[in-house]
Symmetry: C3
Subunit: 210 residues, 3 copies
C-alpha cells in the first residue's frame, strides 16, 4: 500500500499540469471569442478557466496556489488567449477541440487526485479534489459567460473526470507505480469522455418525478 508523496509521481506531473492549464485556457479564450468579445476579456477567461480548478484545489488543501509564485503559468494562459484571438474561429471549432478538452479533463482529474493524496488528504476527499480540479475551471467559465454550465448537461463530462479521479485513488492503493496508475486512470477517463463525444452517451436523468 503506497500513497504517493509530492513529486513522487515523478517528472510527468508538471507536464500533465501545464497541458491541462494550456488546454483549459484555450477553451476559456474560445468561449470569449465565440461571443465576439475583446482580447482583454479573452485573456481573463483564459486565466480563470486555465487556473481556476487548480486554484480551488490548492486553496482547499492549504497548499500555496501553484500559479501565483510561478513566473510562467499566467504568461502561458495569456499567450494561449493571444493565439486564439489572432486566428480564425473555424480552427477552434468542432470535435478536434472537444477531444483536446477531453485530454485536459482526464489529465487534470488525475493530477488533482495525485496532488491531494500526496498532501495526506484521505481517499474520498482526494477523489472529490480530482473532480473539482478538472471541472471547476469550466464551471466558472460558463457562469461568467452566463451559460448553462457543463454540470447541467446530461452528457458524460463530470462523470469522466470522476472515473479518472476515482480510478487513480483506488489504483494508488494497489502498489502499482504512480506513473502506471496515472496512465491507466487518465486513459479510462479520456476513453469515457471520447465515447460520450462520439456516441453522445449520457447518464440517465432523475426519474423520481412521478
Amino acid at each position: 500500500m503506497s500513497v504517493p508523496v509530492p513529486g513522487y509521481i515523478g517528472p510527468i506531473l508538471p507536464w500533465l499540469d501545464l497541458f491541462g492549464i494550456a488546454v483549459f485556457a484555450a477553451t476559456g479564450a474560445v468561449a470569449a471569442t465565440m461571443r465576439g468579445q475583446t482580447f482583454v476579456t479573452a485573456a481573463f477567461f483564459a486565466l480563470v478557466t486555465g487556473v481556476g480548478g487548480g486554484t480551488i484545489r490548492d486553496l482547499l488543501m492549504g497548499a500555496p496556489v501553484f500559479w501565483v509564485h510561478d513566473r510562467s503559468v499566467a504568461a502561458i494562459c495569456i499567450t494561449a488567449a493571444l493565439l486564439i484571438w489572432l486566428t480564425p474561429e473555424r480552427w477552434w471549432h468542432g470535435k478536434g477541440f472537444d477531444w483536446l478538452d477531453a485530454m485536459g479533463l482526464a489529465a487534470y482529474a488525475v493530477f488533482g487526485a495525485a496532488k491531494s493524496l500526496g498532501y495526506g488528504v484521505p481517499p474520498v476527499p482526494a477523489f472529490v479534489m480530482g473532480v473539482v480540479t478538472a471541472c471547476v475551471g469550466g464551471i466558472i467559465r460558463d457562469m461568467m459567460a452566463g451559460e448553462p454550465s457543463i454540470l447541467m448537461r446530461p452528457e458524460l463530462y463530470v462523470t469522466a473526470a470522476a472515473l479518472a479521479s476515482a480510478l487513480y485513488v483506488v489504483l494508488s492503493f494497489t502498489g502499482l507505480p504512480p506513473f502506471a496508475c496515472g496512465l491507466v486512470a487518465a486513459g479510462a477517463g479520456f476513453a469515457l469522455r471520447a465515447a460520450a463525444i462520439q456516441w453522445r452517451l449520457a447518464l440517465p436523468a432523475y426519474r423520481g418525478k412521478r
Copy 2:
C-alpha cells in the same frame, strides 16, 4: 465577558455542523433532481451546497478547510445525494423540507459565528462569517443552477441567518455558557425563518425609487 475558544462550546458543535452539512447537501441534491439532472450532477450539487458555506468560512479565517482532511464529510454529502436520487420527488417537496432547511440555516449561522469568535475574529466580522457560513452554500447552488438566488427574494432568509449570528455574537459577551447562547440564538433564527415560511413575512423593499 467571555469569548468561546475552539472546542469550548462543547460537544454540540460538531453535531450542529454535521446536521447543517447533511441538510444543505440534501437541498443541493433536490435542486439538481428537480431539474431532471443525473446522479453525478446531484452529488456535485450536494457537495457544493453542503460544504460551500463552511469552506468559504474556513478559507476566510485561515483555518484548515474542515472537510478536506476529514474521512466522512464528503461521503455524507454523496450519501445524501444518493438517498434523494433513489426516492420519489414528492418526498422532498413542500414545507417539511423548507423547515429542515430552516433548521440547517439557524444551526449553521450559529456554528459559523462561534467558530470565528473562537479563532479570535472580532465581533463584526464574526457576525458576517456566521451569515456567510449559512447562506453561501445556497447562493452558489442557485448560481450553478442558473436560478435567481435566495439573496434576491424579499423573503426573510438571509435576515434569519443574520439574527441567529448577531444574537450569538452579542450573547457570547454576556457570560452565558456558549451552549445556552447557541440554543437561544439558533432558536430565534429558526423561529424567524419559520414565521417567514408560515406567514410569508418579507422585509420592506427599497423605496428610494422616486
Copy 3:
C-alpha cells in the same frame, strides 16, 4: 531595481484600500437597491462587492484575509449600504457615480499589484493580481444579481485596471519611489476609464468569425 516591501509604499496604501472598499461597497448596495431589494440584501451585496476582490487576492497570495481580523472594514461596508438605502436613488445614478467607481478601480488595481509585489509574487502574476483585485468584486456582484458582467461588455473597464496594474509593476522596477509609481499608474488607469465613460471608448471585438 527596487521591489516595494509591505508597508514601504507608505501611508497612502491603507487609504487607497479603504477608498476602494467604500466605493465598491456602495456600487454593490446600489446594484441591490436598483432592483428594489431589501436592506439585508443591499448589505450583503455591499460586503461581497467591497471586499470580494481583495479577499480573492489575499487568498491567492496566502496572506491573511484583510477584513476578517479587522474591526472596521465589515462595518464600513454595512454603513455604506445603510447610507445608500436611506437616500433616494437619483443621488446614486448617472456619471458622477461612474467616475467614483473609476477612481475605485484604479486605486484597487494599483493596491493589488503593490501588495502582491510586496509579498514576493513575480511580475506577471502580480499584474494579474492587480486586475483581479480591481475587477472580481464587480464580477461577483453581477453574477449574484444575474446580470451580464462587466467582463462581457466591450467597454474599457478591465482594460483600465490592466493598464494601472501593468504600469505599476513596470514602474516599480525603474527605481521611482513607490508613491510616485502608484500615482502615475492609478492616474493613467483612471484617465483611460474616464475617457471610456466620456467617449464610450471600446476595444475592438473578435473578428475571427469569417
